[in-house]
Amino acid sequence: MKPARLGLIVLAAVALLVMPLVAQQFGNAWVRIIDTALLYVLLALGLNIVVGYAGLLDLGYVAFYAVGAYLFALLASPQLTDNFPAIAAMYPDGLHAPLWLVIPLGALLAGLAGLVLGAPTLKLRGDYLAIVTLGFGEIIRVFLNNLEQPINITNGPRGIGPIDSITIFGWDLSKKWNLFGLDIPSVTNHYYLFLAVVLLAVLICRRLERSRIGRAWMAIREDEIAARAMGIHTRNLKLLAFGIGATFGGVSGVLFAGFQGFVSPESFALQESVMIVAMVVLGGMGHLPGVIVGALLLAVLPEALRYVADPLQHLTNGRLDASILRQLLIALAMIGIMLARPRGLWPAPDNAR
């Protein structure tokens, strides 16, 4: 490795480690925004496998996020013990599944959900696939909303809480601690965990991209018939893309549930799926740096626009609603970016890799 490159990596690492410590000086809300943005990066990376690599437009991706979140919610909250005496008898201290168990379980369950969604949609392409996946995403949300009658599993629209905070080797991330006189709040703890998971996800994506499997996905995206003529079993590889993409969503959901301490169906609306697709497309489909930038931008932009929308609201004596104004500004920003850079903010360079 060249010294210049090594230096750059060290610099980036230091910047990533110090960033929340600086941001928290301006208020924990900023670190919280960054934490959420990291979860979106994880989602965008997962969806990028399906949309960016394999070229399958999935508009119901948030369903896998919901699967992961509700799994952690059910396994680490009083919800099940309150409603099922049998489970309460088995776990007199309540259900407190540890994170190291729930993360792989969430990944697995979401992956299976990915296969379940993938299997019936294999013959569909483009718009048709998009519509079916959109329906799938809504089905999951409707289930979460209604699975309280006759047996209460998801507690319906009221959601599930309180969920255990994330604990790693006995270290509770929700507790503030003190390092050489510097206060490290809960949001900063979560930042480091999420950062580690995102970095691992980037590594996995990068390695998949430059492999036999990754090339086969891209071949399917470019020309399915030609890909088949090269001996690629397109059905299996599409399922694989759905499955692996979904595991990222599941993991992100588990982390989200632990971070928020509460989940409800509201968090998993169609709007979220659309946002994640927008992150991938806006950043640059199939190009990891682009996808990451797209996710960060679209996750942070709404928060940053708060500071633009509020003054505008005052300017018009409150006639303009801030939240609607924000939506408008986000939409304008997205249209602007897509007009200026139709292949995304940071697409793969023309003379590749």
Partner: protein, 258 residues
């Protein structure tokens, strides 16, 4: 002495009311360039698509290199050993020339998700071998210098050559070329002929559909002629050229009557 690579025995295919192929038989010997010609709508492409698994035949028996062969799924055809190119070029446009060829090694390599994510020794070795083989093939068809260029930016002739390199990468027993000279100018055709002859010299067997009669006559060892879904003649270029049925099919029977 010559052994049979592909044997098609009475293949038929019907589309609604149209009998696109009726009882067509075909035998291709090892090391040959076997031409398949016929007027538009004669059933050439249908036969080609049946052999390469794109269409399911209504009837017929197939043998590939002495083994029974059932072309019922496109991806299995490549595994079985038939590689093809497409009449209207079908490259992986956004991938580089090198990646296009590497993709075609799919059926001959093994590493899966875990190998890729963990970067195992086996994965690294396989990856290096795949890249090396792909580079060799690009050099062989004469576009090695464009290895890292996206396929869509290549010239038309180079795209055709890349398709051939991609087909060779699957280690085929039989290479099926669907109108490889379509849309080429005289210079590009000359280069193509040289390339096909070079591939044959390496011992490959080739099935060639082509409209350019001159090219077919010059290149093929044997030619089968189709008309209205039936085989009307088969033989060496000279035999086929003198065949009355072939002349009728191409020029109309009035020509013979004169």
């Amino acid at each position: 002495m010559a052994d049979t690579i592909l044997k098609v025995d009475r293949a038929s295919k019907r589309f609604g009311g149209v009998q696109a192929l009726s009882d067509v038989s075909l035998t291709i010997e090892r090391g040959m360039v076997h031409g398949l010609i016929g007027p538009n709508g004669a059933g050439k492409t249908t036969l080609f698509n049946v052999i390469t698994g794109l269409y399911k035949p209504d009837a017929g028996h197939f043998e590939l290199a002495g083994k029974p062969y059932r072309p019922h799924a496109v991806h299995e055809v490549a595994r079985a050993g038939i590689a093809r190119t497409f009449q209207n070029i079908r490259l992986f446009a956004e991938m580089t020339a090198l990646e296009n060829v590497m993709v075609a090694r799919y059926a001959r390599t093994r590493c899966g998700v875990f190998g890729a994510v963990l970067r195992t020794a086996a994965f690294k070795a396989e990856e290096a071998a795949t890249a090396q083989r792909a580079r060799e093939l690009l050099d062989e068809v004469g576009i090695g210098r464009y290895a890292d260029v996206r396929a869509r930016t290549l010239s038309y002739g180079d795209q055709r050559r890349l398709e051939i390199a991609r087909a060779l990468a699957t280690e085929p027993t039989l290479i099926a070329l669907d109108e490889p000279a379509a849309g080429m100018n005289a210079t590009e055709k000359r280069v193509l002929i040289e390339l096909i002859e070079r591939i044959r010299a390496q011992g490959h067997t080739i099935l060639l559909i082509e409209h350019d009669v001159q090219l077919v006559m010059g290149l093929c060892d044997r030619i089968a002629v189709l008309d209205h879904g039936q085989q009307i003649a088969v033989g060496t270029p000279a035999e086929v050229q003198g065949d009355v049925a072939v002349i009728n099919a191409y020029l109309g029977s009035a020509h013979v009557a004169v």
